[in-house]
Amino acid sequence: MLGACGSSSSSTTTTAISRPSISKEPGKLSILEWGGYEADGTKAQVDGLKAGKDYTAKFGGGGITYTYIINDDQALEKATSSGPFDIMHPCHENLPDYVSRGLVQPWDTKLLSSFDQLNPFLVQKGQIDGKQYMIPWDWGYGSLLYRTDKIDAADATGWELAWNPKYSGKISLWNGGSTDFEIAALKLGYPKMDQLTSSQLQNAKNTLQTQKPLNKFYWGSEYGQMQPAFKSGTIWITYSWQDALVSMRAAGLPVAYLDPSQGRLSWLCGFMLGAHTNEYYHAHDYVESFINHDACAQMTNLFYYGTSNDTVKPSEIQNKTLVTALDLGNPRAIAASDVHLQSWSPNRSQVDLAWQEVLAS
């Protein structure tokens, strides 16, 4: 499996690939990652994820360095300017930008023994020109998490809940850049949240500026800022992914995950391989340790995110209610008509600038 020197799937790159074998690689992975996704066996992993165990058992956890990102725009910036990284974990709407900036190279899927177990729909979403740039791993939703004991049920109808002055000072939206513009677009009723015209962008910016004073703060780190504040009752409404629903319920809080009239956001994220990595084979081993059956099953039971590994059956997931509610057995759910899959935006730099303006206002 590791024998092939060079990979036929990347034959369109100009350099003749002659890679050192795995034993000759330095063995120091530099990974651009979301907090909470660190491999089991590294000192940084404190949130309970067990994925990566196979890798750290073989190579140890000491050689892995994580650089944290708080949103995908920051991730793209860091990947462009603070790199190079061996592995990056962005979400799929950024795929074209990573490729066009020359930051990534395709994976050799033959080196990933669990690759064939991955859901074909998600796998296809990670391809550009037939090359596998992203190995899909996690998918899920974005919506507002709110305290059912503090929020009137009548107010919890849609994204406009975050604009409700009744709860001023108790709201926290994500410092999520383009995501917040998608939320604004949905709230304003624009059909194509990732393809805003300039006047739509302007309106979205204005509405975000009116929402800003209602926030206690914009959260950047889920575990460092959002969850502690929600747990302590400092905030009652927050943008979150579904893992916070699970964590807050476990902390004993009465919460619900809003199903907005305009529809939730959905997302798909996965691993990308650095274009200039010296850790080609280590990187493949690392990703394999994340996409195998056991790792994926444990991840879903922990965060209640969907997994790309089709061999993980709904019966293996503990909370059956959530499985049904979130349709975790069906990856195609992210592209369903009642949710909005976060996708590539052609005017991303304008959206980024507009977000900086919202932050500055």
Partner: protein, 288 residues
């Protein structure tokens, strides 16, 4: 007539000492909570403990960041002081417009906001295809501490009697030999001052380090920023912070006592007091 009457004396005393208490209060708070047996720094206190120190010292990332910062600061101090001596020697020999231009250029980093300089250096690195590195951090710190080194060393060099140096040259010493044997020993206190100021500035510098340091190798200020909003890491941060503060204050006392002793021996008590004032004015601009 005394310029300040009894009421004035009383109120100024009160104001001054209250202000000193205000200045030292945050430092005292840190020291107190470093020994407080609770995860969160809140009152009432929960009893004495030294466990945070044990925990902090076994926090590899934290101690690594401190050591890394110290190494960078030491390199910066040596490098900037050496360049500062060179610059000072050069400036002493210049006149007129060349002198004005050289001084303006060498003191330029004092008027460039650190955040702008930091992003400028980041752009510079990017342009030459270099990634973040600790060497880049040292270079960035050296360039911002160079003016301080010059502000300390130049007046000291100027205050030396050139006759001694000339005598050495007349007696056959080389220029470098005269410098090494005559000038250098006389400016040791200034060298130490410059070294300390450059070290302290570099150790605590955040803007440039945050942009130029590689991801897995944070400096101490970067680590502080990353952990300041993480409640779990706060006790460690406070513990090491208390030690850093105690060490800094001790350093100030030792440096000042040592410098006064050296000055008195070399120059005489009067001038010692004068140059104490001149050198105390340098840290003015040091904290940006």
């Amino acid at each position: 007539m005394k310029l300040v009457g009894r009421f004035g004396t009383l109120s100024l005393n009160l104001y001054f000492w209250l202000f000193v208490a205000f200045l030292f209060a945050p430092l005292v708070v840190l020291v107190i909570f470093s020994m407080n047996n609770s995860m969160t720094p809140t009152l009432p206190l929960s009893g004495f403990t030294t466990k945070w120190f044990h925990q902090a010292f076994s926090n590899g990332e934290l101690t690594g960041a401190v050591v890394r910062s110290a190494a960078i600061a030491l390199t910066t101090a040596v490098f900037a002081t050496a360049l500062g001596i060179m610059a000072s020697i050069g400036l002493m020999a210049l006149r007129g417009r060349a002198l004005t231009f050289a001084i303006a250029a060498l003191l330029l980093p004092l008027v460039v906001p650190y955040i702008s300089l930091a992003v400028g250096l980041l752009i510079l690195l990017q342009t030459f295809g270099a990634g973040p590195s600790l060497t880049a951090v040292v270079l960035g710190h050296a360039v911002i501490t160079l003016p301080f080194a010059i502000l300390v060393l130049l007046p000291r060099l100027r205050s030396l009697d050139p006759a001694m140096n000339e005598a050495a040259l007349d007696l056959g010493a080389s220029a470098f030999g005269a410098f090494r044997l005559i000038t250098l020993p006389l400016i040791v206190p200034a060298l130490v001052s410059s070294g300390i100021i450059c070290f302290v500035t570099s150790f605590d510098e955040f803007a440039i380090a945050s942009f130029l340091a590689p991801s897995g190798q944070p400096t101490y200020p970067i680590f502080l920023y990353a952990s300041a909003r993480t409640p779990a890491l706060l006790p460690d941060v406070i513990a090491i912070g208390a030690i850093v503060i105690a060490a800094s204050l001790l350093l100030v006392v030792i440096a000042e006592a040592g410098r006064r002793w050296a000055e008195r021996r070399l120059v005489g008590a009067g001038a010692a007091v004068q140059s104490a004032l001149a050198e105390a004015s340098v840290p003015l601009i040091a904290h940006r």
